[in-house]
Protein backbone atom coordinates (compact mmCIF):
# COMPACT_ATOMS: atom_id res chain seq x y z
CA UNK A 1 0.00 0.00 0.00
CA UNK A 2 1.08 3.58 -0.53
CA UNK A 3 1.98 4.96 2.86
CA UNK A 4 2.66 8.42 4.14
CA UNK A 5 4.39 8.96 7.44
CA UNK A 6 4.94 11.93 9.69
CA UNK A 7 7.47 10.65 12.15
CA UNK A 8 7.19 13.37 14.77
CA UNK A 9 4.01 13.41 16.80
CA UNK A 10 4.91 16.72 18.41
CA UNK A 11 7.41 19.51 17.92
CA UNK A 12 8.10 22.39 20.31
CA UNK A 13 10.01 25.44 19.15
CA UNK A 14 10.71 28.96 20.35
CA UNK A 15 8.94 31.90 18.79
CA UNK A 16 10.92 33.42 15.94
CA UNK A 17 12.68 30.18 15.01
CA UNK A 18 12.02 28.10 11.89
CA UNK A 19 9.85 25.05 12.38
CA UNK A 20 10.62 22.08 10.12
CA UNK A 21 8.16 19.20 9.79
CA UNK A 22 8.90 15.99 7.92
CA UNK A 23 6.69 13.81 5.74
CA UNK A 24 8.00 10.55 4.26
CA UNK A 25 6.34 8.35 1.66
CA UNK A 26 6.87 4.78 0.49
CA UNK A 27 7.08 3.19 -2.94
CA UNK A 28 6.62 5.40 -5.97
CA UNK A 29 6.47 9.17 -5.78
CA UNK A 30 3.01 10.66 -5.60
CA UNK A 31 2.17 13.24 -8.25
CA UNK A 32 1.64 15.83 -5.51
CA UNK A 33 1.99 16.28 -1.79
CA UNK A 34 -0.56 18.42 -0.02
CA UNK A 35 -0.20 20.11 3.36
CA UNK A 36 -3.06 21.01 5.71
CA UNK A 37 -3.38 22.78 9.04
CA UNK A 38 -5.79 21.57 11.71
CA UNK A 39 -6.70 23.56 14.81
CA UNK A 40 -8.22 21.80 17.86
CA UNK A 41 -11.90 21.03 17.37
CA UNK A 42 -11.87 22.06 13.70
CA UNK A 43 -11.53 20.44 10.32
CA UNK A 44 -8.26 20.55 8.37
CA UNK A 45 -7.62 23.55 6.14
CA UNK A 46 -5.54 23.34 2.97
CA UNK A 47 -2.29 25.30 3.02
CA UNK A 48 -0.33 24.48 -0.12
CA UNK A 49 0.75 21.68 -2.39
CA UNK A 50 3.87 20.78 -4.29
CA UNK A 51 4.16 18.82 -7.50
CA UNK A 52 6.56 15.93 -8.00
CA UNK A 53 8.65 17.93 -10.49
CA UNK A 54 8.94 20.95 -8.18
CA UNK A 55 11.79 21.08 -5.72
CA UNK A 56 10.41 23.92 -3.63
CA UNK A 57 7.25 25.98 -3.19
CA UNK A 58 6.75 29.10 -1.08
CA UNK A 59 3.75 30.96 0.30
CA UNK A 60 4.41 33.84 2.66
CA UNK A 61 6.28 32.32 5.66
CA UNK A 62 5.68 28.76 4.46
CA UNK A 63 8.04 26.69 2.35
CA UNK A 64 7.62 23.12 1.16
CA UNK A 65 10.22 20.92 -0.50
CA UNK A 66 9.86 17.64 -2.39
CA UNK A 67 12.86 15.30 -2.53
CA UNK A 68 12.13 12.24 -4.67
CA UNK A 69 15.52 10.71 -3.85
CA UNK A 70 14.89 10.76 -0.11
CA UNK A 71 11.13 10.17 -0.65
CA UNK A 72 10.48 13.07 1.63
CA UNK A 73 8.76 16.44 1.89
CA UNK A 74 9.82 19.08 4.37
CA UNK A 75 7.44 21.80 5.55
CA UNK A 76 9.03 24.93 6.97
CA UNK A 77 7.47 27.83 8.86
CA UNK A 78 9.90 30.72 9.18
CA UNK A 79 9.74 33.35 11.95
CA UNK A 80 7.25 31.14 13.77
CA UNK A 81 4.59 32.69 15.99
CA UNK A 82 2.40 31.26 18.76
CA UNK A 83 -0.53 31.55 16.31
CA UNK A 84 1.21 28.91 14.16
CA UNK A 85 0.59 26.34 16.90
CA UNK A 86 -1.58 23.63 15.35
CA UNK A 87 -1.42 20.13 13.91
CA UNK A 88 -0.02 19.93 10.39
CA UNK A 89 -1.02 17.08 8.10
CA UNK A 90 0.60 15.99 4.89
CA UNK A 91 -1.35 14.05 2.29
CA UNK A 92 -0.22 11.84 -0.55
CA UNK A 93 -1.96 12.80 -3.80
CA UNK A 94 -1.32 10.10 -6.39
CA UNK A 95 -3.52 11.78 -8.95
CA UNK A 96 -6.32 9.28 -9.48
CA UNK A 97 -7.13 7.95 -6.03
CA UNK A 98 -8.34 9.56 -2.81
CA UNK A 99 -5.77 11.39 -0.71
CA UNK A 100 -3.89 9.42 1.93
CA UNK A 101 -3.19 11.48 5.03
CA UNK A 102 -0.36 11.18 7.52
CA UNK A 103 -1.07 11.16 11.23
CA UNK A 104 0.01 14.76 11.62
CA UNK A 105 2.59 16.64 13.66
CA UNK A 106 1.44 18.85 16.51
CA UNK A 107 3.48 22.06 16.53
CA UNK A 108 3.71 24.23 19.63
CA UNK A 109 5.39 27.62 19.30
CA UNK A 110 6.46 28.91 22.67
CA UNK A 111 6.61 32.66 23.30
Amino acid sequence: SQKIEQNSEALNIQEGKTATLTCNYTNYSPAYLQWYRQDPGRGPVFLLLIRENEKEKRKERLKVTFDTTLKQSLFHITASQPADSATYLCARDSGNTPLVFGKGTRLSVIA
Binding site: Y32, Q34, G43, P44, D93, G95, N96, P98, F101
Partner: protein
Protein backbone atom coordinates in the same frame (compact mmCIF):
# COMPACT_ATOMS: atom_id res chain seq x y z
CA UNK B 1 -20.66 30.28 0.49
CA UNK B 2 -21.14 28.18 3.60
CA UNK B 3 -18.66 25.60 2.27
CA UNK B 4 -19.08 22.18 3.88
CA UNK B 5 -21.56 21.95 6.74
CA UNK B 6 -22.09 19.02 9.09
CA UNK B 7 -24.77 18.24 11.60
CA UNK B 8 -24.91 17.48 14.45
CA UNK B 9 -21.79 18.86 16.10
CA UNK B 10 -21.96 16.41 19.00
CA UNK B 11 -23.90 13.23 19.67
CA UNK B 12 -23.97 10.52 22.29
CA UNK B 13 -25.39 7.17 21.23
CA UNK B 14 -26.10 4.00 23.10
CA UNK B 15 -24.73 0.71 21.78
CA UNK B 16 -27.00 -0.62 19.06
CA UNK B 17 -28.65 2.70 18.22
CA UNK B 18 -28.61 4.12 14.71
CA UNK B 19 -28.02 7.62 13.42
CA UNK B 20 -27.26 9.59 10.31
CA UNK B 21 -24.53 12.19 10.11
CA UNK B 22 -25.47 14.90 7.65
CA UNK B 23 -23.07 16.62 5.25
CA UNK B 24 -23.87 19.33 2.70
CA UNK B 25 -21.62 21.36 0.42
CA UNK B 26 -22.55 24.38 -1.67
CA UNK B 27 -19.50 24.50 -3.95
CA UNK B 28 -20.93 22.20 -6.64
CA UNK B 29 -18.12 19.72 -6.02
CA UNK B 30 -18.45 16.28 -7.55
CA UNK B 31 -16.23 14.54 -5.03
CA UNK B 32 -17.21 14.04 -1.39
CA UNK B 33 -15.57 12.07 1.40
CA UNK B 34 -16.19 10.81 4.91
CA UNK B 35 -13.26 10.43 7.32
CA UNK B 36 -12.96 9.44 10.92
CA UNK B 37 -10.19 10.78 13.12
CA UNK B 38 -9.13 9.06 16.30
CA UNK B 39 -6.54 10.60 18.64
CA UNK B 40 -3.04 10.16 17.23
CA UNK B 41 -4.32 8.12 14.27
CA UNK B 42 -4.80 10.67 11.54
CA UNK B 43 -7.67 10.75 9.07
CA UNK B 44 -9.00 7.41 7.84
CA UNK B 45 -11.25 7.33 4.79
CA UNK B 46 -14.60 5.60 5.36
CA UNK B 47 -16.45 6.15 2.08
CA UNK B 48 -16.24 8.51 -0.83
CA UNK B 49 -18.35 9.54 -3.79
CA UNK B 50 -17.34 10.72 -7.25
CA UNK B 51 -20.77 12.08 -8.08
CA UNK B 52 -24.47 11.68 -7.46
CA UNK B 53 -25.41 8.01 -7.40
CA UNK B 54 -21.82 6.74 -7.18
CA UNK B 55 -20.12 5.73 -3.94
CA UNK B 56 -17.12 3.59 -3.07
CA UNK B 57 -15.52 2.13 0.04
CA UNK B 58 -12.49 3.64 1.66
CA UNK B 59 -10.08 2.13 4.16
CA UNK B 60 -12.53 1.56 7.06
CA UNK B 61 -16.10 1.11 5.70
CA UNK B 62 -17.37 -1.61 8.06
CA UNK B 63 -20.32 -0.51 10.18
CA UNK B 64 -21.19 2.43 7.93
CA UNK B 65 -23.33 3.13 4.89
CA UNK B 66 -23.62 6.10 2.58
CA UNK B 67 -25.81 7.38 -0.20
CA UNK B 68 -25.45 10.24 -2.66
CA UNK B 69 -28.73 11.22 -4.24
CA UNK B 70 -27.75 14.84 -4.95
CA UNK B 71 -24.51 16.68 -5.67
CA UNK B 72 -24.87 18.66 -2.45
CA UNK B 73 -25.59 15.97 0.15
CA UNK B 74 -23.60 12.97 1.34
CA UNK B 75 -25.07 11.47 4.54
CA UNK B 76 -23.26 8.80 6.56
CA UNK B 77 -25.37 6.17 8.28
CA UNK B 78 -24.40 4.16 11.36
CA UNK B 79 -26.80 1.25 11.71
CA UNK B 80 -25.77 -0.50 14.94
CA UNK B 81 -23.50 1.78 16.91
CA UNK B 82 -20.54 0.20 18.67
CA UNK B 83 -18.02 1.74 21.11
CA UNK B 84 -15.34 1.34 18.40
CA UNK B 85 -17.20 3.98 16.39
CA UNK B 86 -16.52 6.64 18.99
CA UNK B 87 -14.58 9.18 16.99
CA UNK B 88 -14.65 12.56 15.30
CA UNK B 89 -16.15 12.38 11.82
CA UNK B 90 -15.23 14.81 9.07
CA UNK B 91 -16.90 15.30 5.74
CA UNK B 92 -14.93 16.85 2.90
CA UNK B 93 -15.43 17.77 -0.73
CA UNK B 94 -13.24 18.59 -3.70
CA UNK B 95 -13.66 19.69 -7.29
CA UNK B 96 -11.63 16.74 -8.58
CA UNK B 97 -10.01 13.62 -7.16
CA UNK B 98 -6.44 14.35 -6.26
CA UNK B 99 -4.40 15.82 -9.12
CA UNK B 100 -3.72 18.84 -6.96
CA UNK B 101 -7.36 19.44 -6.04
CA UNK B 102 -7.56 20.53 -2.43
CA UNK B 103 -10.17 19.11 -0.10
CA UNK B 104 -12.52 21.37 1.85
CA UNK B 105 -13.49 20.02 5.24
CA UNK B 106 -16.52 20.50 7.43
CA UNK B 107 -16.26 21.33 11.16
CA UNK B 108 -16.72 17.71 12.24
CA UNK B 109 -19.14 15.67 14.33
CA UNK B 110 -17.93 14.32 17.66
CA UNK B 111 -19.66 11.00 18.31
CA UNK B 112 -19.52 9.01 21.53
CA UNK B 113 -20.99 5.52 21.76
CA UNK B 114 -21.63 4.26 25.30
Amino acid sequence: NAGVTQTPKFRILKIGQSMTLQCTQDMNHNYMYWYRQDPGMGLKLIYYSVGAGITDKGEVPNGYNVSRSTTEDFPLRLELAAPSQTSVYFCASSYGEGRGNEQFFGPGTRLTVL
